[in-house]
């Protein structure tokens, strides 16, 4: 009897995993078809440079991985259509898991990749970066924002802001614009991204003379009720609530704040990007919400990319897609500068690309920032951008 019970339990768990995979897999099937044909056409022309991409295509973080893959694919198609240098992108799934990320990396090694594009998530990226550093591959990540990704590795570069960098910039912005004197911080203490930003924000806020009156957290798995945290912020008179969290819990925070008649300025990080596109979310709740995102899809400069992306994948690109697009163009610019050819070994490509990226006259104008430059520590330097939700759309501040 017991054995039967166990069997059915395990089977049920397997079914659950299947369904979870289905949800995200189904949404991207159109994308897979088009990326397949795109890489097919690239392979037809002479000797493409092989770029290996890593990110989650299945699992709970799939939305980010798919966006970075699609954004990069748009850029690869554009570059290939220009003639001249050709790219081929092979994007492998890592389920946002460190172990699977390393597996995906090894698979791409067998494929013969020359440049690593990824990973999308920090946990996986830290481990893959250690491998690429030892094996000498050039690596550029669109969205793995922890400082651990680049620390001590000369071959790894980021296109996104680092977590502490984002927290510090946010605190500076709040202080300089005089948005508030008393601030509250609400973050997910089970998440590296959220904790990294919140810690840096709190430290910088104190240094800039802001008073952190409430510092509350919530765990990773139970994020449905925020009344305790919001009451704490309200009772301590916080005029601004800084929440470096993802948009799903953020939408609940906004809803619950409204129902308890608490209306401070809400200020978020780039993980909040996508809140307006969320299904079933009343965008009037987000009115006045400020967030730091490097990409605004309604900006004039992004119109061409947005149109292409929408035509190919049927949805508005978010910041992750734009990061991916910029990554490929940064790689393209560095390849041109360093004179990379498809027959070079990955070690040679790595050294030449590092030299190109860190040289003083190398800068890239992308969707997520003008004049992006990189230092030897691998961190990007570009101007931060704060947007405010007005009439259900972003407006750049």
């Amino acid at each position: 009897m017991k054995r039967k019970n166990v069997c059915s339990l395990v089977l049920a768990a397997a079914m659950m995993a299947t369904l979870a995979g289905c949800g995200s897999g189904g949404a991207s099937s159109a994308a897979a078809a088009s990326s397949g044909s795109a890489s097919g056409s690239a392979a037809a022309s002479a000797d493409p440079i092989k770029i290996g991409g890593i990110g989650p295509i299945t699992g709970s973080a799939a939305v980010y991985g798919i966006a970075t893959r699609n954004g990069a694919q748009v850029a690869v198609d554009e570059i290939n259509a220009m003639g001249g240098m050709q790219f081929e992108l092979n994007f492998q799934d890592d389920e946002a898991d460190a172990e699977k990320g390393v597996n995906a990396y090894h698979t791409l090694q067998d494929w013969g990749m020359q440049i690593v594009y990824g990973c999308t998530t920090t946990g996986s990226c830290v481990n893959v970066a250690a491998e690429t550093n030892a094996d000498r591959y050039f690596q550029l990540t669109p969205s793995a924002s922890s400082t651990d990704v680049t620390a001590g590795k000369d071959n790894v570069f980021q296109v996104c802001f680092t977590d502490p960098g984002q927290g510090t910039t946010a605190a500076d912005y709040v202080a300089e614009q005089g948005l508030a004197k008393k601030v509250a911080v609400l973050y997910n203490n089970g998440d590296a991204y959220s904790t990294g930003i919140a810690t840096a924000f709190a430290a910088e806020a104190a240094a800039k003379g802001l008073e952190v009156v409430s510092n509350t957290t919530f765990p990773d798995d139970t994020n449905t009720d925020f009344s305790v945290q919001l009451s704490d912020a309200k009772n301590n008179g916080a005029e601004l609530v800084f929440m470096p969290i993802y948009y799903t819990p953020a939408s609940l925070v906004l809803n619950q704040a409204k129902s308890m008649d608490y209306s401070p300025i809400f200020f978020g990080g780039d993980g909040m990007d996508g809140i307006l596109a969320m299904e079933g979310f009343d965008t009037s709740l987000a009115e006045g919400l400020m967030l730091m995102t490097p990409f605004n899809a309604s900006d004039a400069g992004a119109a061409d990319f947005v149109a292409k992306y929408e035509a190919a994948y049927g949805e508005t690109p978010n910041q992750f897609a734009a990061d991916g697009y910029d990554c490929i163009y940064a790689i393209y610019a560095a390849c041109e500068k360093a004179g990379i050819t498809a027959d070079m070994s990955h070690e040679d490509v790595c050294e030449a690309m590092i030299a190109a990226f860190t040289s003083s006259d190398f800068s890239v104008d992308g969707l997520t920032g003008k004049g992006m430059t990189w230092g030897t520590n691998g961190e990007v330097s570009k101007a931060p951008m704060v947007v405010k939700v007005e009439n259900g759309a972003y407006s750049t501040m």
Binding site: V6, A13, A17, T18, N103, N127, G190, T195
Partner: protein, 352 residues
């Protein structure tokens, strides 16, 4: 004479299991030295070893003791993080990599064993579904505790904290070993395939000898009929504790091996899903069947990588394969075919 005759098949079966592992190791080593192994498989070798040890150790609880444990990844987590911290602390005193790996894995195993002594208190009082829920909760508790622990190391020794990295007051030359949700980073890669192979042999020796010992028979007697076993003087608490703690120590060792194969680990990795994954290995390999666990763990770790060609449908195909294999191995017709090839069934299983 009678006894010898009965013992012989199980001893033979044990030797086949050892032989299988040794042959697999020899083949892999030969391929490695010949440079014939694809890097995708090369990268999987150490995780496979860790998962094999996890599956065998869980089999002691689920198959031999007959209790469903859903928190086995918790012990792996304790072993992993303790071993990582120990390895960093020993960096200056123990210079030899393999020795440091062995010592820190042993410390991880002991830590997991100590934690299991706490869990064993409710475990001895509960059975069946209730026990499953307790172990499930335990796994989650471990994950959440590690998520808020900060550990730093400097000239003065260890610093512990529950708030954040700054509150530890580390000296300038100090190093953060564990940073709450950011996990442990900067881990030196000490694990090797040979270390994993030796750990599997150790685990097999412990598990198989335990099963075939007096204590193992007592545990199985308790599993099959508790009242009858107690009536002949077998103490349930003593033997259950023995099986459970052994299983936890082995899981801790596996955790140490696993953690030191990567440059960083997160507490999130050792969650409910990992516990279930290991349970799947055990169920698929056959409960109480140690050799089956070894094969299932190795096969199911490689399978998702072999399915990469399916791209978006990979995990769907994986789940379908899993369901088919489960149905196939539980089919009575297939069972008789297997039975014909079976050389003395290892650790006789109870009838369903």
């Amino acid at each position: 004479m009678e006894k010898l005759k009965r013992m012989a098949p199980s001893t033979r079966s044990s030797f086949i299991t050892y032989g299988m592992v040794i042959v697999a190791y020899a083949v892999m080593e030969a391929l490695l030295s010949g440079g014939l192994l694809k890097s995708s498989l090369k990268g999987l070798l150490v995780p496979i070893c860790a998962y094999v040890v996890m599956a065998v150790s869980l089999n002691l609880t689920v198959g031999i003791m007959g209790e469903l444990s859903l928190g086995h990844a918790g012990f792996m987590s304790v072993g992993a993080f303790t071993a990582v911290i120990a390895a960093a602390a020993l960096e200056s005193t123990v210079t030899s990599g393999p020795v440091r790996l062995a010592v820190s894995m042993a410390i991880g195993g002991v830590a997991a064993g100590l934690v299991s002594l706490i869990v064993v208190v409710p475990v001895l009082r509960l059975q069946g579904d209730y026990l499953a829920i307790v172990t499930l909760a335990f796994g989650e508790i471990i994950k959440n505790i590690i998520n808020c622990v900060y550990v730093g190391l400097d000239g003065e020794g260890f610093h512990f904290g529950m708030k954040d990295a700054a509150s530890l007051g580390l000296a300038a030359d100090g190093k953060m070993l564990l940073q709450g949700p950011m996990g442990a980073v900067g881990i030196q890669k000490l694990s090797s395939f040979t270390a994993g192979f030796l750990l599997i042999l150790l685990t097999l020796a412990v598990a198989l000898n335990f099963i075939h010992s007096r204590a193992g028979r007592a545990v199985m007697a308790l599993r099959d009929n508790r009242i009858a076993a107690e009536s002949v003087g077998i103490s349930p608490s003593r033997y259950k504790m023995m099986a459970f703690v052994t299983s936890a120590v082995l899981a801790g060792l596996a955790g140490g091996l696993y953690a030191m194969n990567f440059s960083s680990i997160l507490a999130k990795k050792f969650d409910f899903n990992t516990s279930i994954l290991i349970l799947v290995f055990v169920v698929l390999g056959g409960m109480g069947n140690i050799r089956g666990s070894v094969i299932a763990a190795a096969a199911l770790t490689v399978l998702p990588e072999l399915l990469r060609d399916f791209s978006d449908y990979r995990m769907l195909v994986y789940a379908i394969v899993l369901i088919l294999v489960m149905l196939f191995t539980n089919n009575p017709a297939c069972k008789t075919v297997f039975a014909r090839f079976k050389l003395g069934s290892p650790a006789k299983k109870e009838a369903v």
